[in-house]
Homo-oligomer: 256 residues x 3
């Protein structure tokens, strides 16, 4: 069994290490993998996007534990969601929206049964006291139905801007990666040709790969997750364009 962890806890403090200790105390045979712990503090959307890029590449049965939880200690609920391939445990704050927009949910419950929590529950560190032990018990075979009542669930919509026919599309930068690539929420559904505009920069065509342009040149391409991305060959598009999260991106699809 595999448990994948996604948090904004960083890698310096003891938060992630402790979660692993708790998990391995309950199930010494589970394999714990880090997805990321460097999500910007309390940035639920960023975490959701990281999860969306990753989840489909993980083995069937993987349990994803997602703890970006700005309202920990309030009465926000925790949900556990079973899909055909995976299980997700997360605060009920929208972190799963990217994933849930495209998968079929088989079961979805509120995590409420304290038998699967640590004995003393702090008000500030549910990653350790609730998320980790619940994930470990699930990895030992506990059924979602034992965790709590069925959760209300509405399929998220409008997550991506689908660009399938000629016309004008407006999206925005939703993630900037380590290399300074600007990833947008525009999702072409087929091979397209088009013109991309961000700030004062116009990119006249959509390239297949970075090697299509000269070193230092701005380009647009469909990235490895199928989204429109703006980058610079051997360079950094964030630094070149000074664009940040939320910057509008305009795509004119010419032909398919």
């Amino acid at each position: 069994m595999l448990i994948a962890l996604l948090t904004d806890f960083g890698n310096r403090d003891w938060f992630v290490g402790v979660m692993k200790g708790v998990i391995l105390k309950i199930n010494p045979n589970v394999n714990v993998v880090d997805l990321s712990h460097e999500v910007a503090p309390q940035n639920v959307k960023e975490a959701g996007f990281i999860l969306w890029n990753a989840y489909r590449f993980f083995p069937k049965g993987t349990i994803f534990v997602c703890v970006v939880d700005p309202t920990v200690g309030s009465d926000r609920k925790i949900i556990a969601v079973q899909t055909k391939e995976h299980i997700f445990i997360a605060p009920d704050n929208g972190i799963l929206d990217f994933v849930l927009s495209e998968v079929e949910v088989l079961k979805s419950v509120y995590v409420e049964n304290k038998s699967y929590f640590l004995e003393n529950i702090s008000t500030t560190f549910h990653g350790r006291d609730i998320f980790a032990p619940v994930a470990a018990y699930i990895s030992r075979g506990v059924d979602l139905g034992e965790l709590g009542e069925e959760a209300s669930f509405r399929k998220p919509e409008g997550i991506f801007v689908e660009a399938s026919t000629p016309g004008d599309y407006i999206g925005e930068v939703i993630y900037i990666d380590r290399f300074g690539n600007l990833i947008t929420n525009i999702k072409p559904t087929a091979d397209i040709d088009g013109e991309v505009k961000i700030k004062e920069y116009i990119i006249e065509k959509i390239s297949k790969t970075y090697a299509d342009v000269k070193s230092g040149q701005l380009l647009a391409l469909i990235d490895s997750s199928g989204l429109l991305e703006i980058g610079v060959r051997n360079g950094n598009a964030k630094e070149l364009t000074k664009a940040d999260y939320g910057e509008k991106v305009f795509l004119k699809v010419k032909k398919i």
Copy 2:
């Protein structure tokens, strides 16, 4: 078997990866978990505090390898300590003080037997040449008694300021986490009510959770490890107060 690593080696250089290689070469079946490698360089106290927050959540038998070692290459000794639940290997420089102040030591030895070291021992990288192989051999069943002579041992005192009855207590900021929370060495031994002062800021009561105050507001609470902590809801107390490590914190306990 589980080996947990705590160092100031960072995650960029090869230091941590090499330690894992050495361990897995000696015991391919051991599970190696990272506690933290981003301890501030040579900050023994910070490492000790991270360890204290984490150790009790790890499975029985976990071997903690702690390498924050400013005097590596000198004649400082290395100790291995067995408690009822765990084993700790560390330079004899105080890094274990937080933990040893509250656990019963069953056995404590100096690590001196070169049969359990790598063949060539550098003067600068004992993490690789001594700590990693010794931990791996212990995980394979080597008894602490085989490592060296019994170590002299004195229980550390005065680590925490216990606040159990009404009155005035003075502590200090001993750790600042990723979220900018200011963690103090004041340890209330029961539910208390009181007033907290740091720099020019007075916090009139001790909250149960972040959700008790408004966004952006400073608050004091008992953190997930039982220590008095000063934070800002959806904000950063370090940035707001400009307090740093060692800043004095005043607690007036009103009633229990």
Copy 3:
């Protein structure tokens, strides 16, 4: 089986987590270890040096996956190299030069057989689509001969400046570690005594260990990998000397 990952992907994005997902989907029983993911973006030489410092400490049979790949998407080739002890998979861009300068290559092939890739291959993320699955299949027993044609191979030379007899040697800073130590490409082949010069600083002898000098003092020593290193006891040589990568270092060997 053990797979060790070395990339410039960082620990924030999903890139490394996804590679682990892909690997564990193909071989759930393999142990995946991080060597480093914080190589400076696209710095092939830095990655190669990290690998050289680490590889010989890993168990026999370890598969090293090295993805620092500035020309991904071009027609650059990927190679898989088998030595007596290990297997290396990397872009054919020189990343393996440090290692290959000192090991015997038993077999070396171009990675071309798409049966061992993911079904859809992006132009930008071969770490996920090619390197990870190929490594996983090798860990399941696939022979290198099945991956593609034999690769042309020339033993790299002049990687290190060997300093074995009295005389003058010129090398340079090739790596600066977390502690600010300046690591050079000068490799003394025996115990030497000598004088080291970097910028305006003259270090009159080669010390055995940091503890040989006073706190704050600059020193030269042979580091844990056998290379000439310049450091400051309880300090940071990069900050003190303002030296950077490529800074010339002069060694006058007096006697052996």
